[in-house]
């Protein structure tokens, strides 16, 4: 069967559509997070989302987002606002929450399993092996709408996000409401993390966020150019990963991350060669 035959299937088409939108949003998000030294925030928040999802499953909620989205948003706000006045510093608090919630989620999953095959639930949730291919109609609609909201928010607040990303203190000094825009970045981060769990699973979200941004930074130096290149790389990487996994029956999440890693190495080699040519 050809790729065109597979794309005729509504669930495959939906997987590609939602995958591309999630990659678009994570690409936009990746640049400010990497520049603000919050590359691992995706890991921490995805583990919190995983823990919240297991609680929702235990409570037999029909829609896990009732708990997952608010819990992730609140956690993102608290983590990204970590300041010098806290007793536990940024990376330590992130590490503590990350491993604690991952372990807690797995314990809850084993004590109150959704079905007879806990390994399948873990495999699907943590690695996103086939989650993106089993989206319901409501999941697709919600993903599309939230992605559009994220893109609009990023475009609308672009200048302010740029300001607080590069110099939070200077931004406050010039009258920018830095706390407000950090809150927006935190909310967008939480939404993108929650959506991306369907694509690559909880454990691989960080790769989806950082690889395209780091690839672009090898080649471009201007914030706008880096952002545009990151979005293109992220979307192309997700699409290529999805296509490869559909055609070769590989796990979706891992395949996308491998493709993103491959693109990073290509950009790295290109930047090294360009540097050598200039010298």
């Amino acid at each position: 069967m050809t790729l065109f035959d597979y794309l005729q299937q509504p669930f495959v088409f939906n997987a590609v559509l939602v995958g591309i939108l999630i990659a678009l949003c994570s690409g936009l998000l990746g640049v400010p997070l990497v520049l603000k030294r919050f590359s691992f925030i995706g890991d921490g928040l995805s583990h919190i989302a995983f823990f919240a999802a297991t609680i929702a499953t235990t409570l037999r909620l029909t829609q896990e987002l009732y708990i997952v989205l608010p819990a992730t948003v609140i956690s993102a706000v608290l983590l990204l606002r970590t300041s010098s006045s806290t007793k536990v510093k940024g990376d330590a608090s992130l590490a503590m929450i990350s491993v604690g919630t991952l372990a807690g989620g797995y314990v809850v999953m084993n004590m109150f399993p959704k079905g007879g095959n806990v390994s399948a639930d873990v495999c699907s949730t943590l690695f996103g092996s086939t989650s993106i291919l089993t989206l319901s109609e409501s999941d697709v609609i919600l993903s599309v709408v939230l992605s559009i909201v994220v893109v609009i928010a990023f475009v609308f607040f672009y200048n302010k996000i740029f300001a607080v990303t590069f110099d939070d203190v200077f931004a406050r000094g010039t009258g920018v409401k830095a706390n407000l825009y950090n809150l927006i970045i935190a909310t967008i981060t939480a939404v993108v993390i929650t959506l991306a769990m369907n694509l690559v699973g909880s454990l691989l979200i960080t790769a989806l966020i950082i690889f395209p941004a780091l690839s672009s930074m090898r080649v471009f130096k201007c914030f706008k150019s880096v952002t545009i290149c990151t979005v293109i790389v992220s979307v192309l990487g997700a699409f290529a990963g999805l296509v490869i996994s559909i055609m070769l029956a590989t796990p979706v999440g891992s395949t996308i991350v491998v493709v993103d890693a491959g693109i990073f190495f290509i950009f790295l080699i290109f930047s090294l060669l360009r540097k050598k040519v200039k010298t």
Binding site: A120, L142, S245
Partner: protein, 151 residues
């Protein structure tokens, strides 16, 4: 300007609470054309597709059964059966794993001829039609199997 992020957060939380529950949809919606692979005589021929797509297709059949109602199906997987404690009936399933074999999706089938069911965990190929039946207050979905081959 303060209202904008509050509105953004409200939109996000409202959308998160507005989704429909994930249950099998039993509606009168018209069937979608989901014929797979025009080179085969079956509407849904899962024999030559990769494991992830087979798993996802069977998952969709159990979640949106009205879309696939009445379609001819060819599928292979592992045979499994379960005896009910409630009514002493034995139910027969074809189990389809994904490519990593960590996730599995089962679909019930009923042989409409007098053939015997195989031993559990036998690899089987089924050809039949996707239908539903009523048992008690619930509607169940199965493959009305005209041909079963042990592989």
């Amino acid at each position: 300007m303060r209202k904008a992020p509050a509105a953004l957060a409200a939109i996000i939380l409202l959308l998160g609470s507005c989704s429909q529950p994930q249950e099998a949809q039993v509606t009168d919606k018209p069937k979608m054309m989901v014929k797979i692979n025009n080179d085969t005589k079956y509407d849904i021929d899962l024999k030559d597709m990769n494991a992830n797509i087979v798993y996802a297709t069977v998952y969709q059949m159990t979640q949106q059964p009205q879309t696939y109602m009445g379609m001819t199906v060819r599928i292979d997987g592992l045979y499994s059966e379960e005896k009910s404690d409630v009514n002493d009936n034995t139910y027969h399933y074809c189990i389809i794993p994904d490519a990593a074999a960590c996730c599995q999706q089962g679909i019930e089938f009923i042989l409409n001829n007098s053939s015997e069911y195989p031993a559990v965990d036998t690899q089987i190929e089924l050809i039949g039609t996707f239908r539903s039946y009523q048992e008690g207050p619930y509607e169940y979905y199965y493959i009305d199997t005209t041909e079963m081959t042990q592989l």
